[in-house]
Symmetry: C2
Subunit: 410 residues, 2 copies
């Protein structure tokens, strides 16, 4: 099979680990007969070291040159792994973005891949393992770009899409995607199979297994991703297509959450077009990230706007809005800086009424107050007080019987 | 003027030095109005660190991947310098071998430059300083190559040739080329102007200022090189064309030397074609470097062959030749492992008789025995006992009045 395998910085963190990964790849090639493109990240901490080096020259370094320096981290790992593979008689070569032709736009530091040339790559693959430097591309003006932190996942998925690989295998330090955080719910189950849509909601909710953009990319180009542990054996979690709402589809697949959020509520604003936009523009100008946004139906031409910001932007946001209060003509600006968001996610939700009711009832039974609610087609998210978060996760994990959810397919 | 400026690893050895070099370049661009290509080496010790990293994976690492790893050293320096320049509002960009199109052959680790594309480079130069990663190119099979240690000098000269720069300025930790080592002769004079031919003889004699290949390249393409100190002011030494044997050309320009040589003499070998070649082939197979070779005129079909090898190859060479003695049918193999070579160099020598006589007489007056002599058009070299080397250098420096040699042009 034609496979893309991506190894992260921790899996390649020292020379012994590089040797181990090399043995694993050799087995996949020589015993299992696969053709393999390997995508590598920089060795653990290397990117941070290079970042610090740049900032020691200039606190706001030229972004193009910053990218060029960061990119050397992956070049070193790629060549070290190639050396390790050749040492054990597994023919391999490294290839960087220039050599392959991984073209991106000019958004240095967070570039987007525009196209990947495959002729040369497929030719090389006939006779050897090709080890590609993840996280980088070449801009329209022929400079190295980086794709943003975690961009190696995106590189791997994009390469898999370009060469139409059977699977994009992401090797990491967890053995798959779980129904929720096993540190909180000991019964949390590894999910064997999850849809792109569900995984997207998981990623953006702070499940740190995969970079959100890589899942978006996989969704768009239909690339199956398998997340597995870099060292342990196991089939991991396959992220794949929705195969219809059969009985085997659990209503709720997983529970995700994020801490350290703050809620802001702007009371009694004039419900006319442009007011919400005006408020959000003020925040955008200061680069304050806004996550959830809820606006209730207006009463007598007035409405309330609630949104969340990161906890450490709370004070700045309140101050900013207070100075604008007269201009915005609002009655009051209030908030809570110790908030958590908890979400239930499930592709099966589309065809099931009552999921939200089950969620709200489970929380209400333990007197956990819901401060705001948003929903998407396959997700329901609520804001609660941060101190109730772990209790709420356990309640919902039990309410949706996730401790048994994978029994039939594992 | 269109200039190429090369800075070595010591000049760029820490962040403060990088900032200083940036200021120097900014002045050259904004006050003096030059267009500048900067060629950089890796920061001091970086190449050694990367070398060690490769060998920690495999003692005989894949040479292509080894080159790719070593090349990251220059990429980091180039981008750091670009960041430092942009910080002080001097527009600059780094450019590597892929971006420019510096094409080499496939001799990884010691590649030779075949061609350099200049369209893009000249376009960039119109608006900014271009900082090129020295020491590297791209092979015919699209892999990074390195040019061998010290190859950044060659990169600089090749770029100067390609864009027809006015001068190739090599900034280093000495302020120019001297008539001989100032540590030995306190009167040693900085040479303001020296010909390519003289510099070539100096380089290969162990004057560590410039890599020999870079001087060969400069000679071939007529690129004027100026060697100066990276920090101190001064015009340095200009390496340029022979402008004829006018009166101002000193007969002897400089005295160079090398220590730690060993002399081997093979006595009474049959003087027929192929014998010398046979002996040298034996040594070549074992990668023993042979420098000077002298064969005297034969007597009754027999001759002696004398040559030098590095001191630390002496024992191996003697052993090797002893085992071949019957086959070679030689009378004796003898040698001396504490030998030095001393050379007088001067373009003026071509039209002056008596230079060698002056040399030999000066040495004879102090009873320094000459063990072998070779000459080229612009050089006379002799082998002497190592312990007399410093005395001999002082004697010759005085005999050829080099302490006054630069007075008229400095």
């Amino acid at each position: 099979m034609l496979l893309v395998q991506k190894f992260g910085g921790t899996s390649l963190g020292n020379l012994e680990r590089i040797d181990n990964i090399a043995k694993k790849i050799k087995k996949n090639v020589q015993e299992d007969g696969h053709q393999i493109i390997v995508v590598v990240s920089a060795m653990a901490n290397k990117t941070d070291q290079l970042h610090d080096l740049c900032l020691s020259i200039d606190q706001t370094p030229n972004i193009m040159e910053y990218d060029a320096i960061l990119a050397t981290g992956e070049q070193i790992t790629a060549s070290l792994l190639a050396i390790a593979l050749n040492k054990i008689n597994c023919h391999a070569r490294s290839a960087n973005a220039f050599q392959i032709g991984i073209e991106t736009n000019n958004a240095y530091g967070k570039a987007r891949i525009r196209s990947i040339k495959t002729n040369q790559l497929l030719e090389w693959l006939k006779t050897q393992v090709v080890i590609v430097t993840g996280f980088q591309g070449v801009s329209l003006e022929n400079k190295i770009t980086t794709l943003g932190r975690g961009g190696s996942d995106t590189s791997a998925v994009a390469l898999a899409a370009a060469i139409q690989a059977h699977e994009c295998q992401i090797y990491t330090d967890v053995d798959g995607v779980y129904t929720t955080d096993p540190n909180i719910v000991t019964d949390a189950q590894k999910i064997t199979r999850i849809t792109f849509e569900e995984m997207l909601e998981m990623s953006s909710q702070g499940s740190k297994v995969l970079q959100t953009r890589s899942v978006e990319f996989a969704t768009k180009y239909g690339v199956q991703i398998r997340v597995s542990h870099a060292v342990h054996r196991g089939i991991g979690t396959l992220i794949t297509f929705d195969e219809g709402s059969g009985l085997e589809n659990p209503v709720v697949s997983a529970i995700s959450f994020s801490r350290h959020e703050a809620r802001i509520t702007v009371r009694k604003i004039h419900d006319k077009p442009g007011i919400a936009a005006k408020i959000l523009q003020i925040l955008a100008k200061k680069a304050i990230e806004v996550d959830m946004i809820v606006q209730s139906v207006s009463q007598q031409d007035f409405t309330d706007l609630t949104f969340t910001v990161p906890e450490n932007s709370y004070n700045q946001t309140i101050t900013l809005l207070n100075t604008m209060q007269t201009q915005l003509k609002t009655a009051a600006i209030e908030g809570d800086h110790k908030i958590a968001k908890i979400s239930i996610i499930g592709i099966g939700m589309r065809s099931h009424a009552g999921v939200a009711a089950t969620m709200f009832e489970a929380l209400a039974l333990k007197n956990i107050n819901i401060q705001a609610i948003t929903t998407s087609e396959i997700k329901v998210s609520v804001l609660i007080e941060d101190k109730y978060l772990e209790l709420a996760i356990r309640l919902l994990h039990a309410a949706f019987k996730l401790e048994n959810s994978q029994n039939n397919i594992q």
